[in-house]
Subunit: 597 residues, 2 copies
């Protein structure tokens, strides 16, 4: 079973050498405490918690799963104790608002810690992970009383939160939702309806659970413009903050599912449960959108997490397992066979995992920093960061989860038949990873958001905001050693713009053209975006080698991995390009009745 | 949960209209009974058995799994009764030797029936499926006494068989195996060792189990040249054919695994078990190779099976599920939203599944027929078929299972979050499909076989044997309506030959170049091969439309699917081409110690 070791050297490389985090946070008001030393110290502590407390519970959690009985959910052995320790160590407060008990550290640092927690044990990480959604909602839209009553406890971690959006007949299309909210004489609302797929909807880890619920007021307009946001606590809360009586919200059942089995996925029924409006009436969806980017980056982390964990498992096995001889002659002459890492195709799989994980890490850390810039800066600086976030978040969410799933499968493949056997722990990673392309907006939904709302919706402006960064990078990096990468990146940047124009033109005549191109366009964009981050990493590595700073072999490995990425993964763009240029007809012409005979 | 309906119209299209099976079998000695009518009647009966008996046990079998207790294995509820019915209806005898109780039907027809059985319930199909391996071994290498004693009962189906190859330290590299066979005074052998991953190694469906075991004689040379084949029955068999005492072969445990949970994957220990040599000493691996192609085509069927089943589930859901509006305006104005089949990206996923399943079916049926030609014809005709089999089998095994797994995942994706939930049955298909890229030789092993033994090993002759068929097809099909497909196919045929030459040249200088190109080369080859079969199907469809024969809409759907394949899937070759041309350095240069820091 892969035992997680936080790849601290790789993480620090991105945090400090590529993204120069200390300088960034010293320039952002409110984050002056976030020095490199403090950030490293926090990351080191997070690594210990992830490696020593959470990683050992990952496989047992999958085997045991959650158990539902009479409305209560028992999480796997050790989960509640680990959560207790998480709370005692103050982790829930790390990136939260100091006015309500938070430590005010950058959300970026929260993402770095989330990466380690999620890689060690994604299922466990979902319990505190869902609280982030509730915390963000309350920070942004709660009134002072709500913040004192709920937010402080969520930040403390003694209560956890949920996001109750989906109903059985609607997931992507929230405009169809039916849960009702009837105003009551005391200013509260009676919430009635059934929500499904509610992660952490019920469990045995915390004293109370704060549900954030999407519902309709009696006079609400139809569709997405008639949705409001409500707080519905599991236990009502008295004026002094103590717990009152049990609210009429119950967990009817938990889902049996492919993976993340230690995460309770609940059917929640609200039967005139007491709720409280957050934010303005009928603006619930807009309120949710304010932190949609955060939630999506959180899911992108899952792709990185599963890719990294699978890589760690596969690499250890590939060094250990003996099978056949290298095509170019024995490499382990005294042994009965060579370790499989000598075989080119095993290396292809390992390097694919490595290049995707390290590239995705740089991409995600960069995005998380843009979130902090939006939060702390203002004017043009905040606007630029917000634009980058808007464009890149759907790419990160969909591309990193799709490629993370691919990586998880390479890890199984490296193990051969043993990869299919539960005790090795590799197949669990595939099962756990599969959900990441579905929740928080499927790959298809992200792709429509990218091409429709972001690229075409901004008349190309958001895309130009990012390609100008690429252009700037290419202009500034003229070292001959990395010239082939820089030149290739520049060409792809031009092609990306061209393809975007072509889709835009086609979509003007036929809106289905945007939908027909969407996923291939997103994947194309993902490969080019990762090429940008790999080129940046290569440039840093090359500069360190030239200056003879640090461990040269570390930087050489970065250069070789960058070359692998440009040679063997980036060319996948060619397939996506041809597919998206082929137009909508080949998808739309087949009448529904002729799909099967 | 997808309820399997055999796609009889599609199957007949390939059997008769594309591959003209009746004419083929009328031309092959021994197969004169195989008329179109008889074949259709058999397929119809097989469809009923698969749909009515096996399909209802697919999901329950996964949920229940197999249970081990004290060396015995209990298969899921209904499995043994279904097997009883299978035996009573004479299915095990279908393609077997009439001299030992078989019906002597083409193995091709056996593959068609296997497709239906496997699509309805892959786990169940593995029990009779493993018997095929034992039957083939005994037919080819058993002596008359062994055939009378064991083969007759396997063909009857009252006994089942296994193939005991893998040991915990060796799978792909069988040269390392350690199981011993000591000659005994009575001419038998005492077999000792432990085998793992033995499908159907123990179960409650049949009276006896005939294990075919790879082991080493005391004086055997090292490596693959010192392996012999033995029959080891679970119960010894008396001279009169009755069951004698229990042999010293036992099931120590069954594996907990990702999927195919209703198929017992056994650890088998042989403790001086009585065994009988089949074939000449030390030639066991060579004997196995005589039907390796059959076993690999059998696994290719799994890719088709899971792709087809996932397509059936996803198509039904896509017509039913309402979410959002078509980008080009509402298609279901009176409903709250449109069925998701109106969305271009959902269609992209469905058409990918459809094009892969239908193309793979044509590919597999064609290959199965080549096997019958090898068996029944002689001289140049048999040689040509054997050459085609040699080249195309590794492509079929790896490409169809890789793309079958992709298809299974598209099916989950079409369901959104529901796809991850067990009760819908879609995630099971992904879990079941995952093993197909691992057993019977991983994708990497198939790829080395293709580029090394087959393409370069024959000096390109095997490849030219197939490309000449493509050339012939292109020359003979000049109908303007399919000219774009034919022209494209011809270009790819040329490029395939070119790429093969380039890899050959590079591998002469550095053998690792073959390994570095192998999987991308195999996938490239797979896409071109499927393009050939899609072009053939399109040509037939176009001819039928031109002649106004049959249901035009059926043939139009074939043309549209062919166009989709050429527009959106075949371009994936561009990515594989660039990757394989990038050479071995980007895979081999990173020292083992620099994969992680």
């Amino acid at each position: 079973m892969p035992e997680y070791k936080a790849p601290l050297r790789d993480m620090q490389f991105v945090m400090h050498e590529v993204l120069d985090s200390e300088a960034l946070y010293q320039s952002l008001p409110g984050y002056e405490d976030a020095t490199a030393d403090l950030m490293n110290a926090i990351v080191d502590e997070g690594a210990k918690f992830a490696e020593n407390v959470l990683s050992p519970l990952n496989h047992s959690g999958d085997e045991e799963g959650c158990k539902w009985s009479d409305g209560e959910v028992k999480t796997p052995e050790g989960f509640a104790a680990a959560y207790q320790q998480y709370v005692e160590n103050g982790w829930p407060a790390l990136p939260a608002d100091p006015n309500y008990g938070g430590q005010g550290m950058p959300a970026f640092l929260g993402s770095v810690v989330s990466e380690m927690i999620g890689t060690a044990n994604w299922s466990w990480g979902m319990y505190p992970g869902l609280s982030h959604g509730a915390v963000n909602t309350l920070e942004a839209h709660g009134d002072e009383e709500q913040k004192q009553k709920y937010l402080t406890r969520l930040i403390e971690g003694t209560w956890t939160g949920t996001m109750c959006l989906t109903e059985s007949h609607c997931g992507s299309d929230l405009g169809l939702l039916r849960t009702k909210a009837e105003p009551q004489a005391d200013g509260s609302y009676a919430i009635s309806g059934t929500k499904i797929f509610i992660s952490a909807g019920e469990h045995d880890m915390a004293e109370n659970i704060v549900h954030i619920v999407l519902a309709r007021l009696p006079d609400a307009p139809e569709g997405t413009k008639g949705i409001s946001l409500f707080i519905v606590p599991k236990f009502n809360v008295n004026a002094d903050g103590s717990l009152g009586e049990r609210n009429a919200v119950h967990c009817d059942s938990i889902e049996k599912k492919m993976g993340i089995k230690a995460s309770a996925t609940c059917v929640m029924s609200f039967d005139n449960a007491k709720g409280y409006l957050i934010g303005p009436p009928n603006k619930g969806l807009a309120c949710m959108f304010t932190f949609m980017n955060t939630a999506r980056i959180g899911t992108a982390i899952q792709g990185l997490a599963h890719g990294e964990l699978s890589y760690q498992g596969a690499l250890a096995y590939a060094k250990d397992r003996l099978s056949m001889r290298s095509l170019s002659g024995p490499k382990n002459e005294n042994g009965p066979a060579d370790p499989i890492i000598v075989h080119a195709d095993v290396r292809r799989m390992l390097l694919t995992q490595k290049a995707l994980a390290e590239g995705s890490r740089a991409f995600i850390y960069f995005l998380a920093q843009q979130g902090d810039i939006v939060h702390a800066a203002d004017g043009d600086r905040a606007k630029k960061a917000d634009d980058l976030l808007a464009l890149l978040t759907p790419i990160a969410k969909a591309f990193i989860t799709e490629t993370g799933f691919e990586s998880a499968n390479h890890g199984v493949q490296v193990f051969g038949g043993h990869g299919f056997i539960s005790e090795w722990g590799m197949e669990q990673i595939v099962r756990d990873a599969r959900i990441s392309m579905l929740y928080e907006g499927t790959t298809g939904i992200q792709a429509l958001d990218l091409i429709g709302r972001k690229v075409l919706g901004s008349g190309g402006q958001l895309l130009l905001g990012f390609t100008s960064l690429i252009e700037e990078f290419c202009g500034a990096n003229t070292d001959e050693a990395i010239a082939p990468l820089v030149e290739t990146l520049g060409k792809y940047k031009d092609e990306w713009l061209e393809l975007s124009m072509k889709i835009g033109e086609a979509a003007m005549k036929n809106p289905d053209e945007a939908g027909a191109a969407a996923v291939d366009y997103l994947m194309y964009s993902g490969y080019v975006t990762l090429a940008y981050f790999w080129a940046r990493m290569a440039a840093v590595a090359q500069a360190k080698i030239a200056a003879a700073e640090g461990d040269t072999s570390f930087y050489e490995a970065k250069l070789m991995t960058a070359q692998f990425y440009f040679d063997r993964l980036l060319p996948r763009t060619a397939a996506h390009k041809q597919a998206l240029l082929s137009g909508a007809d080949n998808l739309m012409q087949l009448p529904e009745a002729m799909f099967a005979f």
